[in-house]
């Protein structure tokens, strides 16, 4: 990929976007009078806004880039994250959990845990969540700055600071309301910025039926594109369920049906969508109980269709790569100019009489595997009539037998977008980054101010004090995220390890929420020790398992005590880890709760536990707008999508 130089029209559109979102922050600043206004929007926002913000806060740059990458690597099976994972969880949140979050008047999900259990459970959840939001935000920043460097040749530091300061300014001025309002704007930008790329790509491939044929070629010979060294049934990239039902060796994800349905569909998805304050905060900002319950349902409608925007580009990219006349490949990992120069010299020095030595020299120079037949042809062609360095370098770019799937989106933007439309596609990337980062910063400042600062450090100050603290911690959170971005860019392995540690804490948390809401006998001690037990289960499981691709490198990927079980893929290992963590936490919480005394009365638990809370009557609402009815319709639509792509 070559860096694109922007034109005046592109800069005009980019600057206009920045002006609009900063303008929203400035307009809303006049309404910020209290910590409630700044950190919780004082429960004042209409459903359609909170609904679109709910989905947009989740649509960070990592999600956009990562889902397209998975679309290329695994095909339509990636949609399980949406149709098995997200939609059922969002319906469950709306119908069963939102009444407790909103009705209890908790200002955050950790605060709900404090009301239901005690300070210990709240602290574990609040501390782990606060750290994870900063990590996630930092990693997302690092990814965006890398992407802009790759696509536009922009300086890493400049990209990082400009994007971060823009987000900081509008969140600092307008608080959560500003973040939510701009997230809605960003939602439309993401859809309208990427839709033409998908449309042009699909037309270029030849339409859906031709795309399926091309993907059948990928499935039956994935080694030709360095996708996998296995072969699969011809529908492995275009069927969501058949390859999974055939077993883990027969689908590119390497995931079995239990891990997919229970690990991803229940534990991980419900754990994220029903307990992660980043998204639940949007619903909590709604103006009344009905709006709060409808928020996840409004979000579920576009979420269900989002695979067309985020997964389909990856499928288009891998299909294009099968057609030589399209002159496209999934970009290889970034190789330095010095690496290419060495490889060019190796090609020139190689003899057609000893091709194997030539191929090895080229591969060593590039630091990556190469397509042997292509490099052989290049060496022979160069020997027959000497080619220029530039010609050889361009040929070598196509000969690297390794793919950087995260470059799928930028490579399609480069291929299909002329100046003008290019700025719109770039805006979609910026918007996804900014919505994700603003979501993380606003969730971080609320959890820090209410759950950690007010809860443990300065409990009885006036509201003005917490309002100021909210603003200060917005700046601190942004600076910490920038620090994490630099850390991730220099020490990616250390960052992975830190993420892993805090991932262990988050894996079992859904069991704690589930038992807290639906079993009144759950005690604070049971919940706390159960959560600790779930975390230890995660660590032990990880220490005893490994995935086949990492079998030679036990360590950060697992197996550091002993490799008791080898999973076909890292994804399968993660899904099973979540299942075990949930099981460990659930079982221990139940057993310890039965063995300990319940310190809260039924009156204390009213509004916090399902069986003790009067059910909400939705009779005054239109039949089709009642959460249970709308949720059922969404589940049916989701089932239909699963059947269509079976």
């Amino acid at each position: 990929m070559h860096a694109i130089h922007l034109h005046g029209i592109d800069y005009t559109i980019l600057l206009a976007y920045v002006a609009f979102i900063l303008g929203i922050g400035w307009v809303l600043a006049r309404y910020m009078k209290s910590s409630g206004d700044f950190l919780t929007s004082s429960h004042s926002i209409p459903t359609w806004v909170t609904g679109l913000a709910f989905i947009s806060a989740n649509l960070g740059a990592l999600e956009l880039v990562g889902m397209a990458a998975s679309g290329a690597q695994y095909g339509i099976s990636t949609a399980h994250f949406y149709w098995v994972g997200a939609i059922p969880a969002m319906v469950f949140l709306s119908v069963f959990m939102m009444p407790f979050y909103y009705g209890s008047k908790a200002r955050s999900t950790p605060e709900y845990l404090r009301m239901r259990f005690d300070q210990r459970v709240r602290f574990v959840n609040a501390f782990a969540f606060a750290v994870m939001t900063v990590f996630t935000s930092g990693i997302s920043m690092d990814a965006l700055a890398d992407l802009l460097h790759l696509l536009l040749g922009w300086n890493f530091n400049l990209s990082l600071w400009i994007c971060s300061v823009v987000v900081l300014l509008y969140v600092f001025k307008g608080g959560l309301t500003s973040a939510i309002y701009t997230e809605v704007l960003q939602f439309f930008l993401i859809v309208l910025g990427f839709a033409p790329v998908v449309w042009l790509g699909l037309k270029d491939v030849g339409g859906w039926s031709v795309l399926k044929q091309r993907l059948a070629d990928v499935a039956t010979n994935p080694a030709a594109l360095a996708v996998s060294d296995k072969t699969f049934q011809s529908d492995a990239w275009t069927s969501a369920w058949k390859p999974v039902l055939a077993g883990s060796p027969h689908n590119p994800m390497g995931v079995d049906i239990f891990a997919m349905v229970f690990g991803l569909g229940f534990v991980l998805s419900f754990g994220y969508w029903c307990t992660n304050f980043l998204v639940v905060q949007r619903a909590m900002a709604a103006k009344n109980m009905t709006a709060a319950r409808n928020t996840p349902l409004v979000a579920a409608i576009p979420k269900m269709l989002f695979p067309a925007i985020v997964i389909l580009p990856g499928m288009i990219a891998i299909a294009l790569a099968t057609v030589p006349s399209k002159d496209y490949r999934i970009p290889p990992p970034i190789i330095s100019d010095a690496g290419y120069a060495k490889a060019v010299a190796a090609v020139k020095a190689a003899s057609p009489a000893d091709l194997n030595a030539g191929i090895k020299a080229v591969s060593d120079a590039l630091g990556a595997p190469v397509y042997k037949d292509k490099v052989s042809a290049l060496i022979s062609a160069n020997a027959a009539h000497e080619e220029t360095n530039e010609q050889i370098k361009n040929a070598l770019y196509a000969d690297v037998a390794e793919n950087d799937y995260n470059a799928v989106i930028p490579s399609l933007v480069e291929k299909y977008c002329p100046h003008g439309l290019l700025a719109l596609a770039l805006l979609a990337l910026f918007a996804s980054f900014m919505s994700g980062m603003a979501g993380n910063i606003t969730a971080f400042n609320t959890v820090w101010t209410y759950d950690l600062y007010q809860g443990y450090i300065a409990p009885n100050k006036d509201d003005r004090h917490y309002f100021q603290m909210g603003r200060v911690v917005t700046v601190v959170g942004t600076l910490l995220s920038i620090g994490c971005a630099y850390f991730a860019s220099h020490y990616s392995n250390a960052m992975n390890a830190l993420q892993l540690v805090f991932g262990f804490v988050n894996a079992p948390i859904f069991a704690t929420f589930l038992l807290g809401m639906f079993w009144k006998r759950t005690t604070g001690t049971g919940a706390f020790l159960g959560l600790i037990g779930g975390i230890l289960t995660s660590i032990l499981f990880h220490a005893l398992t490994l995935s086949a691709p990492d079998v030679l490198h036990p360590g950060i990927k697992g197996g550091y005590i002993h490799v008791a079980y080898l999973f076909p893929s890292e994804m399968a290992q993660n899904f099973w880890l979540a299942s075990f963590a949930f099981g460990g936490c659930f079982l221990l919480t139940v057993l310890i709760s039965l063995a300990t005394k319940q310190t809260k009365t039924d009156e204390d638990l009213k509004g916090l536990v399902y069986s003790l809370t009067p059910k909400i009557k939705d009779h005054e609402q239109h039949f089709f707008l009642r959460p249970a009815v709308l949720g059922t319709i969404l589940i049916i639509a989701c089932v239909i999508l699963n059947i269509i792509f079976w």
């Binding site: 809303l28 004042s44 309002y181 003008g420 719109l424």
Partner: protein
């Protein structure tokens, strides 16, 4: 919170749409069909619809 979000969304997309249509028309002889013209029109329609919704809501509130 006092701000109808359809105003900034409508204004922004109307502006982007108009900009793309003008740029597309100015570069129509430079060979691409010219996607800026087509997508600019889509954004323009979307932006105008948003503004129309915001205007209608404002008129209803006044009435």
């Amino acid at each position: 919170m006092g701000l109808d979000l359809r105003w900034p969304i409508g204004l922004m997309f109307t502006f982007f749409g108009a900009l793309l249509v003008i740029y597309g028309a100015a570069t129509n002889s430079d060979t691409y069909k010219n996607i800026n013209l087509i997508w600019g029109a889509v954004l323009l329609v979307f932006g105008i619809l948003m503004l129309a919704g915001a205007c209608r809501c404002k008129a209803q509130k006044k009435a």
